[in-house]
């Protein structure tokens, strides 16, 4: 894709292969969780990553973060190849990129007071001069994500899902990152809370000049939040482009099928909505991303 640009994050030919163990009667085989995926995220931009469960979205998120080692391919962040980072540089990179997880119920350490949990990244990275100083910063972070700082001394089980996700976001912000991988951060939340969290992401982006890789399967939220969208199918990237192009003019049959599954909030139109079926077969999937319009690529 457009090389030479100053992208915050660019990923090329990213592949993750899991080898299944062969048993007595079965041969060992390779499972491609992610295969030859490439994309980039610009500064202050949100890229939505959508696809069904098991399509490799979360694996990509973890590989970008360096939590899972890719089998092949490169992740370049802020001009630095982070796939083969020496241990001494890992901390510096993690300061600039953080992650928000899917399940706020298992993302908080159950026996740690939430204030401590939010302060932990600062302790690990030696930020703040003293306990009191860090506390002051945690108060700021709590306010920033819309939580009452008085809650600092409480344990995670005392919070609702939305509050927990705010705590996770506060922790991710503690290091002042430029980039956040949000791995389905709203999937586990009530619909009424989802919009609040999405708005929080949006406000924080404007305040702190961050970029997001927003992994989701709720297309309407993606449409609302993201400037560009990438569509995954069985570990392959089938279509990527500006949000308006993906939603207005989907090119790949799988994207069309995916969009046809979104309910319309209008009973009359909803009744007329036709579900487009998509039959997956590895042979029909192409090998080359082709540009159909400016910045809009389709796997052909």
């Amino acid at each position: 894709m457009s090389a030479g640009h100053d992208h915050l994050l660019s990923v090329s030919d990213l592949t993750k292969t899991y080898r299944t163990r062969g048993g007595l009667f079965s041969k060992a085989s390779d499972f491609h969780a992610v295969k030859n995926v490439g994309f980039h995220v610009g500064r202050n931009e949100t890229l939505g990553l959508v696809g069904e469960s098991g399509s490799g979205k979360s694996t990509i998120g973890r590989m970008v973060m360096g939590l899972t080692a890719p089998t092949a391919g490169q992740v370049t962040f802020d001009g630095e190849d982070v796939t083969s980072l020496p241990a001494s540089r890992v901390k510096d990179v993690r300061r600039k990129m953080q992650m928000v997880f899917q399940d706020p119920y298992s993302a908080l350490s159950p026996r740690m007071r939430v204030g401590q949990f939010v302060a932990e990244p600062m302790v690990v990275h030696g930020i703040g001069d003293s306990e009191a100083d860090r506390r002051e910063q945690v108060v700021g972070l709590f306010r920033r994500v819309g939580l009452n700082p008085d809650f600092m001394e409480r344990y995670p089980h005392e919070f609702s899902g939305g509050q927990r996700q705010r705590i996770c976001i506060a922790r991710a912000l503690a290091l002042g990152p430029k980039f956040i991988v949000a791995d389905e951060p709203i999937t586990a939340l009530d619909v009424s809370i989802q919009a609040q969290i999405v708005n929080l992401f949006q406000d924080l982006q404007q305040e702190m000049q961050m970029s997001y890789l927003f992994i989701a399967h709720d297309l309407s939220m993606v449409r609302y939040l993201c400037q560009r969208v990438a569509v995954m199918l069985r570990g392959r990237l089938v279509e990527i482009g500006p949000t308006a192009a993906i939603f207005g003019d989907p090119q790949h049959p799988y994207t069309q099928s995916l969009l046809s599954a979104v309910p319309i909030a209008n009973p009359r139109l909803e009744r007329a909505r036709k579900r487009i079926a998509y039959q997956y077969s590895p042979e029909t999937l192409g090998n080359q991303l082709e540009e159909v319009s400016s910045g809009h690529f389709v796997l052909k």
Partner: protein, 293 residues
């Protein structure tokens, strides 16, 4: 500095307040405290010599009654030794052995379980095979081997008992670590580039301690009984020193004529085990943040 001291004091205060609110927990704590205090203060309680007997006062029945304690409140044994004194002095030995064995085995087992579960791979496979090997060796053979070659000293007994105990912790903790390891807060700790030791001590250990505490209470009870068994076989505490298990074994031959020889040490064992279990139960609840405690 002074602030952290106040925090510690208020935490202790909260702990004691919660303990007093809980009836079973309090009962366990009180009984255990009485036994421990009695054991610690044995030399200053003015008890008859637990080892030297009065052959003229052999197999005397308990003299405790509403009117008073009498000369030998819980009676005397076949050599005329005071049973109460022997139980209190025996408690020193039994409780010390039990506590030391449980701590040694517990610390060792928890560390092995943490390493095995957290690092996985070949480390896990090697350690778990060692656990299997340990479990496959019959306890009496192991005890015979060690004590016959090293002598029936107290620290050898502690070693044998700890050796039979650590595998229980290791297995339970390993299983719990495997469950905790896949949770997202561990991923989150890795995402901030926290050191593995920090992850283990701040995020894994606190969340695997609950089952370990339960194992500890069960093990303490088991070890007291095991020590009794070893003493019975002559591998534990050597005569004339008193230990609850030994007293139980010696009293067995007089069971039909002098019940007090084995019943009172038996009651001591039972009360200790019961109080440890009650206290352990309460501790588990207290440290569970989901239950308001």
């Amino acid at each position: 500095m002074s602030e952290s001291r106040t925090v510690t004091r208020s935490m202790l205060h909260a702990f004691l307040a919660a303990l007093i609110r809980s009836k079973p927990g309090l009962a366990g704590a009180v009984i255990l405290t009485i036994f421990v205090l009695a054991a610690l203060l044995a030399p200053v309680l003015g008890l008859p010599d637990p080892v030297k007997g009065d052959l003229l006062a052999r197999l005397k029945p308990p003299t405790i009654s509403l009117s008073g304690f009498g000369a030998h409140p819980l009676g005397t044994d076949q050599l005329g030794r005071d049973i109460l004194s022997r139980i209190i002095y025996g408690g020193r030995v039994t409780l010390m052995i039990a506590a030391l064995s449980v701590l040694t085995g517990g610390v060792f087992g928890v560390v092995i379980g943490l390493i095995s579960g957290f690092f996985g791979g070949w480390v896990d496979r090697v350690l778990m095979r060692v656990v299997d090997m340990q479990l496959s060796v019959p306890l009496t053979i192991l005890a015979l081997l060690i004590i016959a070659s090293l002598g029936p000293a107290l620290h050898n007994l502690v070693m044998v008992l700890a050796l039979t105990s650590w595998v229980q912790y290791a297995r339970v903790v390993r299983g719990q670590v495997l469950a905790v390891k896949s949770r997202e807060y561990i991923q989150s700790a890795r995402a901030i580039a926290a050191h593995p030791l920090r992850i283990i001590f701040h995020h894994v250990l606190p969340n695997v301690m609950t089952p370990a505490i339960v194992v500890l209470t069960l093990e303490l009870a088991r070890i007291i009984l095991l020590e009794a068994g070893l003493s019975f076989l002559g591998l534990g505490i050597q005569p004339p020193d008193a230990a609850w298990g030994r007293m139980l074994a010696e009293g067995r031959t007089f069971m039909s004529t002098a019940w007090w020889l084995s019943v009172f040490p038996g009651v001591a064992i039972m009360l200790t085990v019961l109080s440890v279990n009650l206290l352990g139960d309460w501790l588990r609840d207290y440290f569970d943040p989901h239950l308001e405690g």
